[in-house]
């Protein structure tokens, strides 16, 4: 849970930054961002975990398993999230930016007050998808020794010899977390919906 929170926040912050950089930044910046995003989207999560965890000691410093997992999965998620936000930004008409500039806003002000609030609303549905998949990807951190849900389950199995039961419980916990998370995001989506604009409410 801690890991999910950490890496989602990391992914969210970097992802939003990357998306705006890619759309509104100078060509050199968007090139860098695209390279970053290509890299983190094409390497499997498990390989990234190993690269960060074992790679850190190779470069002479050592990351704790939790930090390594949060960074590896967080950067990876940021690459995916940047695409979610980029799609949202690009579906906002060019006229919004023009109108904001026309009343004297700077580019940054326009992004901050006009584009960003609309981006968030448009991004929530896809973001809840990212939440669901990231939550379950945390189970991969098992491989580098992070004490996450599956490893906790293992510890209990070693003492109780009830693998089936414990794994069912673990699965159920994942289900509850995903389900409540998505319900909350659906609730947020409806709460933020602009009256008259997004008529279809989320099934929540």
């Amino acid at each position: 849970m801690e890991l999910t929170g950490l890496l989602l926040t990391l992914g969210l912050v970097i992802g939003i930054f990357l998306a705006f950089g890619q759309v509104y930044g100078p060509p050199s910046l968007s090139f860098l961002i695209v390279s970053y995003e290509r890299f983190f989207r094409s390497v499997p999560a498990l390989v990234l975990l190993f690269l960060f965890f074992f790679g850190s000691s190779y470069f002479g410093f050592s990351l704790s398993p939790l930090t390594a997992a949060a960074l590896a999965l967080g950067f990876r998620s940021s690459a995916y999230q940047s695409q979610i936000f980029r799609g949202a930004i690009q579906s906002i008409g060019e006229g919004q930016m023009m109108a904001a500039r026309a009343i004297g806003m700077s580019r940054l002000q326009a992004i901050f007050y006009i584009i960003f609030p609309q981006t968030i609303r448009l991004a929530i549905p896809s973001w809840s998808n990212e939440y669901s998949s990231v939550l379950k990807d945390t189970s991969l951190a098992y491989a580098i020794g992070v004490i996450e849900l599956v490893r906790e389950g293992r510890y209990i199995i070693v003492r109780t010899f009830e693998p089936m039961l414990i794994y069912i419980v673990v699965a159920f916990i994942y289900f509850i977390l995903t389900y409540t998370g998505n319900r909350l995001l659906g609730f947020l989506e409806n709460k933020l919906a602009v009256p008259g604009y997004e008529k279809k409410l989320s099934p929540g």
């Binding site: 006229g95 026309a102 806003m105 602009v194 009256p195 604009y197």
Partner: protein, 253 residues
């Protein structure tokens, strides 16, 4: 020169091309305080490009534009400050979709002019009142008709106390029955002394309100003059032909 007749906008020899295609080929004209001028011309002749040059959304390749004596085509000028002084009304309204009518009007006052929220709200409400939409202040754009949205967008421009408002075909995205309310607001605005430059083919509006019609074709001004003169005895046969066509299309009333 008295205060009333000072030149607000002076456009001199503006050239603009996109790639090989040259859109504007030396446009010059002036707009004095409280004047309303209407620009007409076939589509694709650079009317919108001209407006975009004036409010700095596009840089002209050549030529100068002065706003109230300040050359806004000087390199390195703070264009955001210039834009505060120039209102812009778009064909597609471009209201901020996530904000209420009131917030659309006051966001510029709060974030750009840095007015205290209370004063900004009062001013925004007063401006909405002027366009007849005070009772819709808390509606979102999607809950308003096209005509109402355009009136809100006029209020948004007006609230900033600009020296000049540019209108880029403000009624061409509207249903015929909604055009009247927008034109009425524009007419009131013009009569109250606002300086306006309007790209529009609404000849009724042009005839009753504007001081001068500027006919642009293929990037140059073909003819300009007071509407009466242009309608009764245009010098250029092309002007006659064009005016005849749009009068047929839009009516002369």
């Amino acid at each position: 020169m008295s205060e009333d007749t000072k030149t607000i906008l002076k456009v001199e020899n503006i050239h603009k091309s996109y790639g090989k295609e040259s859109i504007l080929k030396g446009i010059s004209f002036e707009l004095k305080k409280s004047e309303t001028k209407v620009i007409i011309g076939p589509s694709g002749t650079g009317k919108s490009t001209l407006l975009r040059c004036i409010n700095g959304l596009t840089k002209p390749d050549k030529g100068h534009i002065w706003l109230d004596g300040l050359d806004i085509t000087t390199p390195g000028i703070n264009i955001d400050n210039v834009r505060q002084e120039i209102g812009m009304v778009f064909q597609n309204f471009n209201l901020f979709t996530h904000l209420t009518a009131l917030d659309n009007v006051r966001i510029g006052l709060i974030k750009v002019k840095k007015l205290p929220k209370k004063i900004a709200t009062e001013k925004a409400m007063a401006t909405l009142e002027k366009v007849g939409l005070a009772e819709k202040a808390y509606h979102y754009p999607a809950q308003l008709s096209g005509g109402q949205q355009q009136r809100v967008s006029i209020a948004r421009a007006l609230a900033m106390d600009p020296k000049l408002i540019l209108f880029d075909e403000p009624t061409s995205a509207l249903d015929p029955e909604l055009i009247g309310e927008v034109l009425q607001v524009m007419k009131n605005l013009s009569e109250s002394g606002m300086t306006m430059l309007v790209v529009s083919h609404e000849m009724g509006f042009a005839r009753s309100v504007c001081d001068e019609i500027i006919f642009i074709e293929k990037g140059v001004i073909v003819e300009q003059g007071p509407p009466d003169v242009l309608f009764s005895c245009p010098k250029n046969p092309r002007t006659r032909e064009f005016l005849h066509k749009i009068s047929e299309l839009y009516g002369e009333s």
